[in-house]
């Protein structure tokens, strides 16, 4: 294709009435990259993804996915992408295999090809024994795995993972990430991920943080952590008071007493700790060093905790009219 990038977004704008959900957003995702797209709820994440998947049309700017313009070539974009949504989009009354077959037909695979492609994928996600069972008898994790298998069935060039592991137990999440990693290595699929889980964000090659419709930071997880600044060193000594004075005089570092011990904020923790030991005359019981986490990064750029944003799951349930309807009847 003409474009070297898997996803290319330039000055993208989307308005809903007076509200600007996405405001002049620009970024590019390289082929084969695992790209994280983080932000609080209502920041414009879902809107951006919807535009990239051709479910929404942009109000301004341009976006190309797999080399195709989302506005003028939606059909080409659709055949090049796969999606794993945060909401399940399986048909509960079809079997696992029927769901895959349905998908294969939508993406133009001849019937003869389908089981040849579906069977290895079902094996990969560990559902080969359940292929002929209706999806409504699956557990949450199994449904999710089937969704992922389905998202990959047509070998998409770009796979959108919109909070693919939300609401799953940690063990299932680990499994799913194993599959995703295997896949990335094998088919070098470009992946565009939104998540509220820090460990998942940490896996990304690069991360963009969107807040109030704008990209506020975009870089590798390490670079983003460095941009937050100082590392934290916490130590316990035989005499914290003396230690603090020595540190302030000898190392020109300010510190404070906390419940955990002495807390110091320093630029490069790894090289600071050896110098610390050279200077201290009091005995050191223990030292702990923390690099800034992506959580700190998130707070710095959005002013909110990434886990606050995570509560969005129950918000979404509450906003879902079905659930709301049932609740009203129930109460």
């Amino acid at each position: 294709m003409g474009s070297p990038s898997a996803i290319e977004v330039e000055g993208l704008v989307r308005r809903f009435g007076d509200f600007t959900a996405v405001n002049e957003v620009s970024f590019a995702v390289e082929p084969g990259e695992l790209f994280g797209f983080l932000g609080p709820n209502g920041a414009g994440k879902t809107t951006t993804i919807s535009i990239l998947c051709t479910l929404l049309r942009p109000s301004g700017g341009a976006a190309r996915v797999a080399g195709f313009d989302v506005d003028t070539q939606p059909g080409e974009v659709r055949s090049s992408i796969g999606l794993v949504f945060q909401e399940l989009t399986l048909d509960d009354y079809l079997t696992g295999m029927q769901n895959l077959r349905f998908h294969a037909v939508l993406y133009g695979y001849p019937a003869a090809e389908v089981s040849g492609r579906a069977t290895p994928l079902l094996e990969m996600v560990g559902l080969e024994d359940r292929a002929d069972q209706q999806v409504r008898f699956y557990s949450g994790g199994m449904k999710r795995r089937l969704e992922i298998a389905r998202g990959l069935l047509h070998s998409p060039r770009v796979l959108f993972l919109d909070e693919p592991t939300i609401g799953l137990d940690p063990q299932t999440r680990v499994h799913i990430w194993d599959y995703v990693d295997t896949l990335r290595k094998r088919e070098s699929t470009t992946m565009f991920l939104t998540t509220h889980y820090m460990d998942e964000a940490d896996r990304c090659d690069r991360i963009a943080i969107i807040d109030q419709g704008r990209i506020v930071a975009i870089d590798t997880p390490d670079a983003l952590k460095n941009s937050v600044g100082l590392d934290t060193v916490v130590l316990n000594t035989s005499d914290d008071q003396v230690a603090l004075e020595e540190i302030q005089r000898g190392l020109d570092v300010m510190g404070e007493h906390t419940d955990e011990g002495l807390r110091l904020r320093v630029p490069e923790g790894e090289s600071f700790v050896p110098r610390l030991f050279e200077h201290l005359t009091v005995g050191v019981a223990n030292v702990a060093m923390h690099r800034p986490s992506l959580d700190d990064v998130f707070i710095k750029y959005t002013g909110r905790d990434i886990r606050d944003a995570e509560s969005g799951y129950s918000d979404r349930l509450r906003m879902n009219p079905m659930v709301r309807g049932f609740r009203r009847e129930g109460s």
Binding site: I81, D91, L94, P120, P321
Partner: protein, 284 residues
């Protein structure tokens, strides 16, 4: 576990590259048929739907029918015994109701996400809408046709010809009403609006179609409304096919022939189908 993954990998490597894919038209046709098949599969996995679809028409036929027959007496309705008059009406009623319902199942699909699976697929909106119209249409005809077993109870009999003519008109009605339902569904955001659609669309359409009372000697305003109701024409056709003695529908003194009933129904269905495709194109 790791063992499985490695084994699976090797197979996919041999299977993945260079897959022959369908051309545009073939893909869209197959997609439409698949959407149709999905509705049929779902119907048979939810047999309760078939049974509950029979309950309401039976109530009409045996309770309303028997009750009003006494009041109407020997004069009969439009030339036939009232329960017999009602029989084709409840066939139409059953098809009409379930056609609208199954079309509006797209709202259900949207709630539970399956709609997105179809909306992001590289198929045209027409394929999606046609598949949905075929699916909803077939499902509702099946729900209606089950009622034919009640025919002997009210003394209605079929010939082979009249049965297939009736089937044809039921299909037309189902197709047109499903298309109409998709139009409504594409603009409906949530299931709660269902009640409203029932009261404002489904019931008036049913009551004003001649399914329940003959469209003769009506007050002028009612006469006009019933003739504007697109469901009136297929209902008329179904009744005349099943009960040759029944009085024919007249519009402004013109006796509507069967072919005109068919044409009007088909025209309405086609218009709704086109509108549905248009609305879906703009759905976001």
């Amino acid at each position: 576990m790791a063992d499985t993954v490695v084994r699976a990998d090797e197979r996919v490597i041999t299977a993945a590259p260079q897959v022959r894919r369908d051309g545009n038209l073939a893909r869209n046709v197959r997609a439409a048929l698949m959407i149709w098949r999905r509705d049929i599969i779902r119907l048979f996995r939810m047999p309760a739907r078939l049974i509950s679809g029979i309950a309401q028409p039976m109530l009409f036929l045996f309770v309303l029918g028997a009750g009003l027959e006494g009041a109407i007496g020997s004069r009969g309705a439009a030339g036939v015994d009232y329960q017999q008059y009602l029989f084709p009406g409840i066939l139409a009623m059953s098809v009409l109701t379930s056609a609208l319902f199954s079309a509006m199942a797209i709202v259900w699909d949207r709630e539970f996400g399956f709609m997105r699976e179809m909306m992001v697929a590289p198929i045209s909106r027409s394929a999606l809408v046609i598949g949905k119209a075929l699916g909803g249409g077939s499902v509702s005809v099946m729900q209606g046709i089950v009622l034919v077993v009640l025919a002997p109870v009210v003394g209605v009999s079929f010939t082979v010809a009249s049965f297939f003519q009736m089937l044809g008109f039921l299909l037309l009605l189902a197709f047109a009403l499903t298309a109409f339902g998709i139009v409504i569904g594409s603009r409906m955001q949530r299931m709660e609006s269902f009640q409203m659609i029932m009261a404002l669309v489904m019931q008036p359409m049913l009551f004003l179609s001649g399914a329940i009372f003959p469209l003769v000697q009506l007050p002028d305003w009612l006469g006009v409304i019933t003739r504007l109701n697109p469901a009136t024409y297929p209902v008329d056709a179904i009744r005349r096919v099943v009960l040759p003695k029944a009085v024919e529908l007249e519009v402004l003194g013109w006796t509507v022939p069967l072919w005109a009933d068919a044409l009007i129904t088909l025209g309405f269905g086609a218009a709704m189908l086109l509108l549905a495709v248009k609305l879906f194109d703009r759905t976001e």
